[in-house]
């Protein structure tokens, strides 16, 4: 037995930081905390940049100008945002069921492969119109991505294989798979890239309308952006308005209740990962057909991973994914020209760390309270 009186008296501050569980979260708080987290992340990133000898204010200013400064770069930003919207939706769908698909990167590569296969193999007769070629490419991209989602989904449903690791391993396999085709099968003149696609395999860009609307001349934004926006609406409809979406959300929030309600976890695990993979695959198709116009190695600066951060920042809301993707598109666009080259990756990492840490503030209210005077 220890008695409090025998302890030596220490100085104690009369104030105490206490954490109180929040009973309800005001709507503004979510936004304020997220914005605050991003701001803190930018400050930390700036400090690190200053440590390695950069000028953070100039770097951020440069990034802002290089991504939103004029219609041309704004259009480039939207072009970068296009694949991001789709891979982020892929993450949203899976994460909503608490399936950790971190294989969007690989599914993106497979989507690019599937779309390229339509063009580079004699599948369609020469001179097929774009009205057939492009939908065929999109379907092939979605299918290839969905296959890459099906495998980990089936392994999880059938054998209980942890999908975090299997989806990640599938990323490396997809890259090697693509490399084989780039180097060995479709290589053009020994270069590590396929021949350029014919025009009917290009998604229309704003600049293609330049003849009638002069303001659009040179703008790179392509039809893939519309895919992304439509997909965002579709995913929102599936998640919040359809029966399937209700099942997904219920399984995500409370799998046991879902099982008692007779919802098949096996079926939904596989289907959700296929939908997720399909969305990422469509991103790959859109990038290859709208921007790169050929299959090559460096088609993604880690879109699949950025998608995870965007999904989290958007609080898994498919509609908020769109504007958040634009911001990250700007980060990636401006990041290409900035030194050191790892900086965008670092800032993304810090943003995600700050976001997760800030979730705490949504659940608890920190409060300074006066310590009760002991009798």
């Amino acid at each position: 037995m220890t008695s409090a009186a025998s302890e030596p008296r220490r100085f104690r501050s009369p104030w105490q930081l206490r954490l109180e569980a929040r009973l309800e979260q005001p709507a503004w708080l979510n936004l304020a905390v997220s914005l605050g987290a991003v701001a803190v992340a930018l400050v930390i990133g700036g400090i690190i940049l200053a440590v390695v000898g950069g000028d953070p204010l100039r770097a951020y200013g440069f990034m802002l100008r290089a991504s939103f400064g004029n219609p041309g770069v704004l259009s480039d930003t939207l072009t970068k945002a296009t694949p991001l919207i789709l891979v982020s939706l892929a993450a949203v769908v899976a994460f909503r069921m608490r399936l950790w698909n971190i294989g969007a990167e690989g599914q993106f590569f497979m989507g690019a492969f599937g779309a390229s296969a339509v063009v580079l193999t004699p599948l369609l007769p020469e001179g097929t119109s774009a009205w057939i070629t492009l939908p065929a490419m999109a379907l092939a991209g979605i299918a290839a991505g969905a296959v890459w989602g099906f495998i980990p989904g089936w392994l999880k449903a059938r054998f209980g294989v942890n999908e975090i690791i299997s989806t990640l391993m599938m990323n490396y396999i997809a890259v090697s798979w693509n490399n084989f085709f780039i180097f060995a099968v479709w290589s053009e003149g020994g270069f590590q890239m396929s021949p350029q696609f014919p025009r009917e395999a290009w998604l229309p860009r704003l600049t293609d309308l330049g003849a009638s609307v002069p303001a659009f001349r040179g703008l790179t934004t392509h039809l893939g952006l519309a895919f992304g926006v439509v997909a965002a609406g579709l995913v929102a409809w599936i998640l919040y308005r359809s029966r399937w979406g209700y099942e997904i959300r219920l399984l995500g929030d409370n799998p046991r209740a879902g099982r008692y309600a007779g919802i098949s976890i096996t079926r939904n695990t596989i289907l959700v990962l296929m939908l997720s993979g399909g969305l990422a695959g469509l991103a790959g198709m859109s990038e290859i057909s709208g921007v790169v116009h050929r299959l090559q190695g460096a088609i993604s600066p880690g879109y699949g991973f950025t998608g995870i951060i965007i999904a989290w920042l958007a609080k898994l809301n498919p509609l908020i994914v769109v504007p958040v993707s634009v911001i990250f598109g700007a980060l990636i666009l401006a990041g290409r020209e900035i030194q050191p080259s790892g900086l965008p990756m670092l800032i993304q990492g810090i943003i995600l760390v700050c976001l997760i840490a800030s979730d705490f503030l949504l659940r608890y209210r920190p409060r300074l309270v006066r310590r009760a005077v002991e009798a």
Partner: protein, 322 residues
Amino acid sequence: MDAITILHAGVASGTVLLFATLGEILAERSGVLNLGLEGMMLIGAMSAFSTALATGNPWLGVLVAMLVAGVLSQVHGVIAIQFQADQVVSGLALTFLGTGLSLVFGEGLSRAGAVSLLPTYSLPGLSAIPLLGPILFEDQSIMVYLGYLLVPAMWYFIYRTRPGLHLRAVGEFPAAADALGIQVARLRYLYVFIGGMFAGLSGATISLAVSPGWFSQLTTSGQGWIAIGLVIFAQWDPIRAAAGSYAFGALRRMILDIQGPTTLLGLRNPFFYNPYWGFFLQMLPYAFTIIVLVIGSREAFRKRLGAPAALGLPYIRGERGL
């Protein structure tokens, strides 16, 4: 190229996976899932290499790598233990953070040239054992020998000592451990830190011993994730972890070496004459990780073994856990 050379190099390459896997086993045994291994290994490899380059002392490099990775792991520790956030996303964030930090601070290091590496030794007597001697005990890096010692030591620690019992208690049933006066949060911080130090050691082993140098993300090329898979395969047991790590190390080496010779087992080597088939060989470690996970998951189901019961769950005193 003969089998002994491959296995000799495979043991060294497996040591990298071994350190990372052992560290993750400790963190997960305490109930904290840390998916940030890849990031911590990268920052370990980078800081080890750059310290050795600056000071000329590889041992200092190892020390700094372990400290830096340990400190980085505490980012995850605070978020997972203090803030009770989702450990999957937090671990992913740690991977991004570690990768970004190592890319920014490692800028230009890949052209930096050679550093003095960790020493290699042959053990007199043991290296004379036929077959095993030349593979295990001849001309191996000091890190490889450290790996040999760590495996039984960690097994003994986890299963036969009182702190090891506390570690398991905190990961299996934190409420009971708490009731017995074990400080759950403090132990979890500690083991996450130790896990981070192991990941740093693993990174340093790459950049200062096994494949010296800094090659940005290619330095680890997913080995951190393979290690997380190996933890599941190993059923959180150090001895099984060693078996898995060395097997994967040998596989990695074999893939590198199999494309060299013109003949293989007396036949024309298809991988030499079709160099592009090498891309399919490169898939093997990742495909095998998935296969190993299938085996591990089935076995766990059959034997009713499994992850530490509180793995990934924050402990909040007074709330009904588990």
